[in-house]
Amino acid sequence: MSLATEAFMSQIAAAEPWPENATLYQPLREDQILLSDCASSLAVQAFLRMCGLPVQVVCRANAEYMSPSGKIPFIHVGNQVVSELGPIVQFTKAKGHSLSAGLDDVQRAEMKAYMELVNNMLLTAELYVQWCDDATATEISRPRYSSPYSWPLNNILAFQKQWEVRRKMNAIGWGGKTLEKVYEDVSQCFQALSQRLGTQTYFFAKQPTELDALVFGHLFTILTTRLTNNELAERIKSYSNLLSFCRRIEQTYFEGKHS
């Protein structure tokens, strides 16, 4: 299929309404998924719930390899496959569902800046803690990541992943950072988010946006995931407005509806 027809097909598909059988794929919830993937997956789930779009969550051991970009999570809607929050937001927008439509240009720019902050700081810090902190990598990340595979493939894949993440960290200049410095950076990020949120219900007044979904995904996952030490979670707990923000989104969008 040529690029032009592909683009045409995706436009046709975008014009179709959201189907009932939309599916979100992520790694196995109990044994396999890691903090960073869980956070990204939860952010997309929160976003879709905020949009009121039904999606069924399916756990697959090979979700990472099924994803067209190699990243978690991805959604299968009709015959379209879209991965990661950014493209999914674009995709739902094309179908007429948008959370940030009411924002003006300045607010939208601000929202994008904060989303970049979360992706560059929180997501990177999560990856750093998972794969570059030896205790976490040995006790949690490698065994969990490789749990669906049999020996010796499990070791090969886990080390391959670790090597890949470490190379990325070196490329963006995080390779030389100490764990303490990463915690410091994360605290600053929390502080910036806490200040922006202030006493509002959501980051942009009364209506949730994709930024709220993204922040919720990461904060909630950090708070509820057990790591070798609870330093990341402890640092959030000093910002009470972030805690109540998480609880609010959880109650509004996940409780009740889930059961």
């Binding site: 299929m1 051991a61 090979n62 990472e64 049999s150 493939l153």
Partner: protein
């Protein structure tokens, strides 16, 4: 006392490019009886010594097995016959470029009057040889670069490294071959490889990295192979537009399997045989030695050839296979069977029949395919006795089926399923033999019994390959 100089008993061709040996200008033994010569022909002789000249790195103990028979010869004809047989055995080891035999009367203090000395003059192959070739596989061409270290440790071991850069795949491999001394057919092979393949009919890309150990031995008239193989398989989509069924198969898996194969081949040639038959049975059990793929796979191939009038040959073949998953896990797309294309059921596109999803073929768990061919020389036989003999015309009739089986229905239902919706095709074409390994075909095909979803190639179809139905 004269000298009997026998280079060889009869002009046998030294075939096999493996050996790298050109057929010597073999003279038939000529013995000119002169009046003062003692005619040894019918007299008892004793082979006193066997020399091997020209050995470098080859260990002598290996060769003693090959030449031991020469000592048992009782008369001159026997000596010559056994020396010739020993020469053949030495050449087959694939470690000598040239072997010559000189038979002489014994000399020295302990020489018996009827004693003979046999001397093998050998030239070893170089320690390291490189090769460069192009290869034609199933609808694919590739450039192959190889390094060969024959006789690495002096006992006919062979180390081969191969790098192949192809139109569709790039792969490399290292293989170590070790025959049992004195029993060349019984041998061990170790392999380590990486193979990447693209399968556009399934929108699938597969990268295999594996190691294997293989034991081959002859048993009665068959040749048997036992093999263990551990393969790390990485599957991925060839394009973003791949169907979701292919996407679901993506990822890594580890297959550890034990397999056994048996073959009896009485054909006179593997490409365009004139007579003889072939029976091949292959079975593979995966999952019991580790890994996460578990299945039992059975596969067979039968071919019978019969010469008819006017140099024409009638050939019938039948293939079949069954893949049984063991346990809960469904079979992987990488293990299933594919059918269709110019090398199996002609008139259909390559591997484009049977179960499919959005135009991507998923393969089946059971298949059968049969073919009936009538090969004849070219009409009016142009180039007879030369180039023209590489060509044949053929008329063919192919049929087969590929499907998934719902286990639990029982064998009756399975057979019924394989017997309904049979795909078949007929036609005629010209084929060209390439060496003794591959053939090219240009056919006009008429596909029949086409089921919805099958991709056909109505009319002219070109095929190249090494294994044909």
């Amino acid at each position: 006392m004269g000298t009997v100089h026998a280079r060889s008993l009869d002009p046998l061709p030294m075939h096999g490019p493996e050996l790298g040996v050109q057929a010597d200008d073999i003279e038939s033994a000529h013995i000119e009886p002169e009046p003062n010569q003692e005619v040894l022909e019918n007299k008892d002789v004793v082979v006193q010594r066997v020399h091997i000249d020209g050995l470098g790195r080859t260990k002598e103990d290996l060769l003693t097995y090959e030449i031991a028979d020469v000592f048992r010869a009782k008369n001159l004809i026997d000596v010559m016959r056994k020396s010739h047989a020993a020469r053949q055995k030495l050449l087959r080891l694939g470690i000598f470029r040239k072997v010559e035999v000189v038979i002489d009367t014994s000399r020295g203090a302990d020489a018996l009057p009827n004693g003979l000395d046999v001397t093998f003059e050998v030239t070893e192959l170089r320690r390291l040889t490189g090769s460069y070739s192009t290869m034609v596989g199933n609808n694919e061409g590739s450039m192959v670069m190889g390094l060969k270290l024959p006789n690495v440790f002096g006992r006919a071991e062979k180390l081969t490294c191969q790098f192949s850069y192809g139109t569709k795949e790039t792969s490399y491999g290292v293989s170590f071959f070790k025959p049992q001394p004195g029993n060349f057919e019984r041998n061990l092979t170790f392999n380590a490889y990486k193979v990447t393949g693209q399968f556009p009919w399934s929108s699938l890309r597969e990268t295999d990295r594996g190691i294997s150990a293989e034991l081959s031995f002859p048993l009665w008239k068959t040749s048997q192979t036992l093999k263990w193989e551990g393969v790390w398989r990485e599957l991925g989509c060839l394009a973003r537009t791949a169907s979701f069924a292919i996407r679901e198969e993506s990822g890594h898996s580890l297959k550890s399997s034990l397999s056994h194969s048996m073959s009896i081949d009485t054909r006179n040639s593997s490409i365009l045989p004139r007579k003889g038959g072939l029976l091949k049975i292959h079975q593979e059990l995966a999952g019991y030695t580790g890994g996460d793929a578990s299945f039992l796979k059975e596969d067979f191939e039968i071919q019978l050839n019969k010469s008819l009038f006017w140099d024409s040959v009638l050939s019938a073949s039948l293939w079949g296979g069954l893949l049984l998953p063991i346990g809960e896990r469904a079979t992987s797309i990488a293990d299933r069977f594919y059918l269709g294309g110019p090398t199996s059921i002609r008139g259909f596109s390559m591997y484009s029949m049977g179960p499919q999803s959005e135009g991507d073929y998923l393969g089946g768990e059971a298949y059968w395919a049969g073919g009936l061919h009538l090969y004849t020389p070219l009409p009016f036989r142009p180039g007879k006795g030369g180039f023209g003999d590489l060509f044949r015309t053929h008329f063919f009739l192919n049929a087969g089926n590929l499907c998934n089986l719902n286990y639990g229905e029982g064998p009756q239902a399975h057979l019924k399923k394989l017997a309904e919706c049979i795909r078949w095709s007929y036609g005629l074409g010209v084929l060209l033999r390439l060496g003794n390994i591959a053939r090219l075909e240009l056919n006009y095909c008429i596909p029949m019994g086409v089921q919805s979803g099958d991709r056909i190639c109505d009319g002219v179809q070109f095929g190249a390959g090494i294994r044909f139905l």
